[in-house]
């Protein structure tokens, strides 16, 4: 089902031309500009595949190309990430139930030499960190190539309908979706930034002093990006927690639900149970209610709510119970979620028998944290350290976000899980620092770095910054 009315967003305006795609041979209505899985979900299709070994149904999970839950066969090509692949009129989409069998009649394709893009700075990821990095690197005089595997810029900002906190220059009082628009406008204004969407970075390599980012555009074209410096701003990936049937379709990462309803205007379901009362879980509850979806409860294993008080109060006012010291025991349902069983836990985190509650829901949202996407940094050989305060393994870097490999920078959630506001500040620092390291920016830009560093320190000085600071102590070196 598609959303038609929304207090903040206008989907009618955004939807492109109507097209027809085919799922298992059946025609389905879709709109240009939306990804395959969104169109399928709007048509009520939740089951995207069956696992090869145990024939278990698979549905959407992350919706931003980070997991393997939505792989389908598209126009005969197996294992396509349908969450980041745009619909095209006449597309044939089928579920995968077994490892693919390849056609015996295929003709050898002509080898096309890869397109070559030369820039001063190559930025991987067009979220808040990557966009800010691009803007400041460009202003400092650098020629920038910015790539993102999603079909739009903005990263996770494009689904944030809430207003931001902080200072005015950090976009306080502005909704995330609006911030994405503003930053995209700024990027477009700058002629020395070239944007490549639907382009995955598959390798980060060093060729003497040059960095090479190997990109694949639209699943098929090889593009080589070369630069004097690279900024990795690849964001994060949603975490999963163990419980019985946690793979049932209808169990989504919180971000996937936001992508469904806030980015593409697709109703994620009718009745939702949210696991996790951090800021993401709380904001999600509010956004679901805005979209006309019933939120049955928020379940939190800790004895107290993790998110901001204002968010929790708002959700409570709307009548959503927040069950602290509770956990999910299992999901039930045949092909997709039909209900969830929740229980209270004791001080040893063990479920207390007799406290089970049943929630009749068709969606279970997991808002249980994120882990940084460090794959490219790991692959190129940057030093990695485990810092649970930052969400897991992150790279060692200095105060200007340069990693242990000269000319390779990191910013945003891929540097450690934090917020969009800090991601933007880190993006600014990394963008300028990369331009300095490439020998392009003039030394006056150092002042801008110091300014952003000061703002970061201020933002992290509150009680919520304590954990992050503890993590940073482990990984930031002189």
């Amino acid at each position: 089902m598609r959303l038609t009315e929304h207090p903040i967003l206008n989907f009618q305006e955004r939807r492109g031309k109507k097209v027809t795609i085919y799922f298992e041979g059946q025609p389905i209505e879709a709109y240009e500009g939306e990804t395959i899985v969104m169109a399928l979900h709007a048509a009520g299709i939740r089951v995207l595949a069956h696992t090869f070994q145990k024939d278990r149904p698979r549905g959407l999970f992350c919706a931003i190309g980070k997991c393997a839950s939505c792989l389908m066969t598209v126009n005969g090509i197996p294992n396509v990430r349908t969450c980041i692949t745009l619909v095209e009129d006449g597309m044939q989409i089928t579920k995968q139930k077994a490892k693919p069998k390849l056609p015996t009649t295929a003709k050898p394709p002509k080898w096309k030499d890869p397109e070559k893009i030369d820039a001063d700075i190559v930025i991987i990821g067009g979220g808040p960190a990557g966009l800010m990095a691009a803007i400041y690197a460009s202003d400092a005089g650098a020629k920038v190539a910015l790539l993102d595997e999603n079909p739009m810029l903005g990263g996770q900002l494009v689904k944030q309908t809430h207003k931001f906190f902080g200072k005015r220059e950090q976009f306080a009082g502005v909704r995330g979706v609006k911030i994405a628009d503003i930053l995209e406008e700024e990027v477009k204004k700058r002629e020395n930034i070239k944007v490549f969407l639907e382009t995955s970075a598959i390798a980060l390599l060093q060729e003497d002093d040059t960095k090479l980012v190997v990109g694949v555009r639209k699943n098929k074209e090889l593009v080589e990006f070369r630069g004097k410096a690279v900024i990795v701003a690849t964001g994060a990936m949603e975490r999963m927690i163990p419980f019985e049937n946690n793979d049932l379709p209808g169990i989504y990462g919180a971000g996937a639900i936001q992508t469904l309803m806030n980015t593409y205007g697709v109703k994620p379901g009718d009745r939702v149970l949210i696991i996790g009362a951090g800021n993401v879980g709380l904001i999600l509850a509010y956004q679901l209610i805005q979209a006309g979806v019933e939120v049955k409860a928020i379940v939190e294993a800790l004895p107290k709510i993790g998110g901001y008080f204002v968010h929790a109060a708002k959700v409570r006012r709307l009548g959503v119970p927040i069950l602290t010291r509770h956990t999910i025991l299992r999901a039930e349902g045949k092909e997709k979620v039909e209900r969830a069983i929740v229980a209270q836990i004791d001080e040893n985190w063990k479920p207390i028998p007799g406290t089970e509650k049943v929630f009749e829901v068709d969606v279970i949202a997991l808002a249980v944290g994120l882990r940084p996407s460090i794959e490219l940094l790991h692959q190129v050989g940057c030093q990695i350290k485990y810092a649970p305060e930052l969400g897991g393994h992150v790279v060692i870097r200095d105060k200007r976000l340069e990693t242990t490999i000269k000319g390779i920078f990191v910013a945003g959630d891929s540097a450690g899980i934090e917020e969009a506001t800090t991601a933007m500040l880190e993006g600014k620092i990394a963008g300028i620092a990369a331009a300095l390291s490439a020998g392009i920016a003039s030394p006056e830009w150092l002042k801008e770095i110091e300014k952003a560093q000061k703002e970061l320190d201020e933002f992290r000085s509150g009680p919520f910054g304590r954990k992050v600071l503890k993590g940073l102590e482990k990984v930031v070196v002189e």
Binding site: L102, P103, K107, P108, V214
Partner: protein, 377 residues
């Protein structure tokens, strides 16, 4: 005190430990990292008898018999799914006709087949420019992880000692007699040392001050594996010299494993973009449908090459008792069972019935290079 100390815990070292332990010897294996970590676990999994000289054909015929026996006895996967050499020129066909004649003489049932017959064996093949193929259904492949661990397990069962993360620092030789081996984990006293370190053989030879020249040099060779596809689509090892010495086959899990010949001298193991591009370019010519499969991983391992691509196997007469078993030039995995059997006989009986004279380590010094062993990847 160990009677025999084997340096190197690749498949050659652990299989030899098994053979010696079986013959009642006290054996110790010293491995710098973990079992198989050097080159074995990085190999292309293929096992073939299609060589172009009498010695290698006979040796590999025995190796295949042993692969079959040990896979059954120890319970690891080995399949005789064949080797298919795609031939694209009359010249290549002539060469292979001669090889086939030689292989048939020793009972290896290779035959020349038509492109259409090749396509029946591997329906995904592009046979457009293929003129013929050399096909031996008794060649095969094995799982390097399970095979190596099985040999290590069986060796230990028979009393062999395997020390991992134990790096050899020096070999103590007094008056031409081996006294022991110094490692980062202490001194191992022993009377016999076997150098089974393949790519690192020259470093160990230098420690023992081996007085003859045995040219074994490390070359980086890379390989890839793709996303899995339905099993049974590429059963044999498919070889094409026309496509930069490409080899490829399907693993039990379903992924396509393989590589092309793009080597680099030295001890670096960093995978390269150049290889990734080249392997993609070549593989889709041989099997066009692979264009739609993603490559999951690329990695590198060493070919320990000698000037004639044949290993150096034998006793070094000047040092009592020192054996060299290295320089396999990309064939170490497939040869391991027969090498282990032959070298165990050399150590315990002073001779083997196998034509190991072909691998004489003194041949380089004497300038008696062999005809080059057929090699790909």
């Amino acid at each position: 005190m160990s009677e025999v100390t084997i340096i190197g815990g690749g498949i050659t070292g652990v299989a030899l430990a098994y053979e010696l332990a079986k013959r009642g010897y006290e054996v110790t294996v010293l491995e710098r990292r973990f079992i198989g970590s050097g080159s074995t676990f990085r190999c292309g999994t293929g096992i073939r008898q299609q060589f172009g000289d009498e010695a290698n054909i006979q040796v590999m015929k025995r190796s295949v018999e042993l692969w079959k026996k040990y896979s059954e006895d120890f319970g690891f996967p080995f399949t005789q799914s064949g080797y298919l050499f795609l031939l694209y020129s009359e010249e290549e066909i002539e060469d292979f006709k001669n090889n086939i004649k030689l292989q048939n003489k020793f009972g290896v049932p290779t035959r020349l087949i038509t492109p259409e017959e090749a396509k029946e064996i591997v329906p995904l093949l592009n046979i457009e420019d293929v003129l013929a193929a050399s096909w031996n259904p008794t060649d095969g492949k094995a799982d390097p992880f399970k095979a190596t661990m099985a040999f290590a397990r069986e060796a230990k069962e028979l009393g062999a000692k395997i020390y991992e993360y134990t790096e050899v620092k020096d070999i103590v030789v007094e008056n031409g007699e081996i006294k022991g081996v110094k490692t980062n984990k202490g001194f191992f006293s022993t009377g016999t040392v076997v150098n089974a370190t393949n790519a690192w053989a020259k470093l160990i030879n230098a420690m023992a001050e081996v007085p003859i020249t045995i040219p074994i040099e490390p070359y980086k060779h890379q390989a890839i594996i793709t996303q899995p596809m339905k099993s049974g689509q590429i059963n044999p090892m498919v070889i094409s010299f026309k496509h930069r010495d490409a080899y490829l086959t399907q693993t039990a899990h379903g992924g396509i494993v393989g590589g092309v010949g793009l080597e680099e001298h030295g001890y670096d193991l960093t995978p390269t973009y150049e290889f990734l591009k080249e392997v993609t370019k070549q593989f889709i010519q041989i099997i066009p449908a692979l264009k739609d499969l993603r490559i999951l991983r690329v990695w590198a391992g060493f070919y320990a090459k000698t000037p004639d691509s044949n290993p150096a196997i034998g006793r070094i007469n000047e040092i009592d008792e020192y054996y060299i078993v290295a320089g396999f030039s990309g064939h170490g995995f497939m040869m391991a069972p027969v090498v282990a059997e032959g070298v165990a006989d050399l150590i315990t009986k002073g001779k083997t019935n196998l034509p190991f004279w072909w691998y004489d380590p003194y041949r380089f010094e004497r300038g008696e290079l062999r005809s080059k062993a057929i090699q790909m990847g």
